[in-house]
Amino acid sequence: MEKKDTQWPLWEIFIQANPGIPHKHVGSLHAPDAELAIQNARDVYTRRNEGISIWVVEAKNIRASSPEDIGSFFEPANDKVYRHPTFYKVPDGVKYL
């Protein structure tokens, strides 16, 4: 039986450029499993020392918020200025606050 040529599943790639900073999404690639996804990611995305750590996540496992709902979804944060330190008045001369 002829199996369908899938060109392998899609993986999203995250690279940490230096110690102490977060992993950042850099793109995606195809690989049959996580191990090869990491190896391929090394060859595709770190040919010039761009990273010291790689995370791979199969694309189908990523869920995302939907752009159409941006307004209502993030709206609750809009009217809560008291969450920022600049909201509060501090008398002149008071330090370390």
Binding site: Q7, G27, L29, P32, L36, S66
Partner: protein
């Protein structure tokens, strides 16, 4: 419904005008999506097919240094193809489909790669001229409106500048070498100059539906304007190493600050695009064979991955 679409389109345009990138899940006009898929897949195919003319010289590079450089360059081209295929996939087409379009001749790739690399000097000319022209085009595209494409382009541009320099370095070595070496460099320039100029695409009066694509920032600059910048920057580089451009009408216009060039043979360009260039058939065959010959590897890796998942599931 119609009104809705109008409103969405207005919002879409406003975002682009403000310089906000369009991301994969955002609403976009169907024509925008289609046009980007066409451009990005064509671009990806060009990177992949572009490995062939240069790969032809890896085993015959004149020194270990040159061989290591050429290997790294060709590997970069593969990487660029991968960035672009995955960026195109964010628009909802999958790679299998894009490859299918390439292999059946439905999708195009850059006309330039249908010319043969006859001597080592051609590797110099490709890096200098072909990558030089591509950089002009790609720095413009990096400012485009579609996020994944523009980000891929930024990466690619960074990597391309070494390609451009290594090519010019090869041309320098030959141009300052023996008379035979200089003749070889000159011959390569003679053969690659016009195709390099043409690869930036048809002239503006012959390039359909550019206005809409410009307003959507899919296309950032007209072909002729990119071509002019390429010529203005490249001609002094050739003059500097004593090579002559194969265009008797090429001359600097002091008033405009630009070079003027002779007429471009568009008949040749369209003929190559249609599939009648010197290497079209060989290039396509090499890609189709590579896909066919690699199929068992893809299947084996997939079977291995499947077996492991089953084991893990059983163990759990």
């Amino acid at each position: 419904m119609v009104k809705d679409e109008k409103k969405l389109l207005a919002e879409f345009q406003a975002k682009i005008d403000k310089g906000v990138k369009i991301e994969p899940k955002d609403w976009m006009p169907e024509h925008y999506r289609k046009q980007l898929i066409r451009m990005m897949s064509q671009h990806a195919h060009s990177e992949i097919v572009g490995m062939l003319p240069e790969g032809n010289w890896i085993t015959r590079a004149p020194s270990l240094r040159r061989k290591a450089i050429l290997l790294a360059k060709v590997q970069d081209e593969a990487g660029h193809g991968m960035y672009l295929y995955s960026a195109a996939e964010t628009l909802g087409i999958d790679r299998t489909e894009m490859l299918e379009q390439l292999h059946t001749g439905k999708a195009k790739y850059s006309s330039i790669f249908n010319y043969p690399t006859l001597t080592w000097a051609d590797i110099g000319a490709i890096g200098w001229l072909v990558d030089g022209a591509a950089i002009m085009n790609q720095t413009a595209l990096a400012k485009g409106s579609y996020g994944p494409y523009s980000r891929a382009m930024v990466r690619i541009c960074k990597e391309e500048s070494f390609h451009n320099r290594q090519g010019y370095e090869i041309m320098c070595s030959l141009a300052f070498g023996t008379p035979e070496q200089k003749a070889m460099a000159q011959d390569a320039l003679n053969r690659w100059w016009w195709p390099a100029i043409m690869m930036l695409g048809p002239s503006d009066d012959n390039s359909p539906n550019s206005a809409e694509l410009m307003s959507w920032k899919v296309k950032m600059e007209s072909n002729d304007s990119i071509r002019q910048r390429f010529i203005d920057r490249t001609v002094p580089q050739g003059d500097h190493i004593g090579l002559t451009f194969p265009d008797p009408l090429l001359k600097f216009n002091k008033e405009t600050g630009h070079y003027e060039h002779g007429p471009i043979n568009w008949e040749e360009f369209f003929n190559v695009v249609k599939g009648n260039g010197p290497c079209n058939k060989a290039r396509l065959k090499a890609r189709v064979d590579a896909d066919k010959d690699g199929k068992w590897v893809r299947e084996a890796a997939e079977a291995y991955a499947m077996k492991h998942t089953e084991k893990e599931t059983l163990a759990a």
